[in-house]
Symmetry: C2
Subunit: 223 residues, 2 copies
């Protein structure tokens, strides 16, 4: 009987052992509002500031917004998860701990600290996050490495998302507290990191091929 | 006492349960000789055939050899592992089963079918393998997507190797039957897939930046 009392947490599988677990304090709407509004504020800032740079197209400015948003998400949110293995024991309403206590309802591998999830999040936090901020700078200043950098980060994000989804599938795909959390958190929250990196890879791939074609033509002329 | 008899396999951890395990039939030297000689044969073939293509530099021909070797390794060796979860029960001296029975002495997560390993190998077999063969063709015919394709595959290989090593580290790094197998198989056999993709990324990254610089200069001239 005593054993059953250990498992008063909202996650699935129910028999997941989380000694010292402290339930979240903030509501889902509060957590989402803080993330949504702070992201909106920063993205708006990038949008207006980038308007003052010469010769930046709208698409470049939109991409700068994306790279700032995804970069800070990787570094702050995912970075906190990677380096805070005991976040679920947090006794205060620490915002970042609340994010992961809540998100784990869609994927309990976060509280269970499954190694595939930790690796994918670690790569995002340590490599893709800082590289995303570099991409904001590279686009603004039209660096020659701008496109290849964006392809590299986007492929990393796609590979990470593949690791994330496929390890879950191989392990039985039963880590969500309910169908609602499965679709709202596990599927919907991750969809942006499949769709947007794919679009960016396609765009930058084309631009890169065009640049090599131009170079070839130029070589042919000078022959 | 009966329980102990279940674990007559050469892998670590010793208590890994492998019902139906059949020991390998071929010696280490036989397995390595087949892999080494068939690789040497194919690589030599690519080297000589590529010499008949016009305007291919030695570095291009070397890269074609690498992409054929790594592509076929991904598709045949790793592809077999991914789609043969019961390879360790193989009752004959099936060469591909022998490879993984032997390699598992360096990393028992292969026989244990750890999901991080299966994902990294699956990505290699299904995506990077065929893409590597495409790279052989792209280099031979000087396609404009040649460099970006090589960057994409190499980054995938590096990400996969990172997942492979980091998941092992997070899970205690105790999957080798001995220090010999740890260094000979786990470290040495994987080292090429760290070193060579890194060199390729650096080279193609520089070429891509140069192509964009040329394009910029050309635009500046025509203004």
């Amino acid at each position: 009987m005593e054993g059953l009392n250990h498992h008063h947490h909202p996650y699935v599988p129910k028999d997941l052992d989380l000694p010292g677990f402290v339930p979240g304090f903030l509501s889902q709407s509060t957590i989402l509002a803080v993330y949504g509004l702070s992201s909106l504020l920063l993205v708006s800032l990038v949008w207006f500031l980038s308007g003052r740079f010469p010769n930046l197209q709208k698409i470049d400015r939109l991409l700068m917004c994306w790279w700032l948003f995804t970069g800070l998400t990787h570094i702050i949110l995912e970075g906190y998860f990677v380096f805070s293995p005991e976040f679920y024991k947090e006794k205060t309403a620490h915002y970042l701990a609340e994010v992961w206590k809540e998100y784990s309802k869609g994927d309990s591998r976060y509280v269970a600290r499954e190694s595939g999830v930790v690796v994918a999040e670690g790569m995002a936090a340590v490599l893709e996050g800082p590289a995303s901020l570099l991409a904001v700078y590279a686009i603004a200043t039209k660096k020659s490495y701008s496109y290849i950098l964006q392809v590299a980060i986007s492929l990393g994000q796609l590979y990470g998302t593949a690791v994330y989804f496929i390890t879950s599938y191989l392990e039985g795909d039963n880590f969500a507290a309910s169908a609602y959390y499965y679709y709202a958190y596990y599927i919907t929250a991750n969809a942006s990191w499949v769709i947007i990196p794919t679009l960016i890879v396609v765009r930058c791939w084309r631009k890169t091929c065009a640049a090599f074609s131009t170079q070839e033509q130029r070589k042919a002329k000078t022959r």
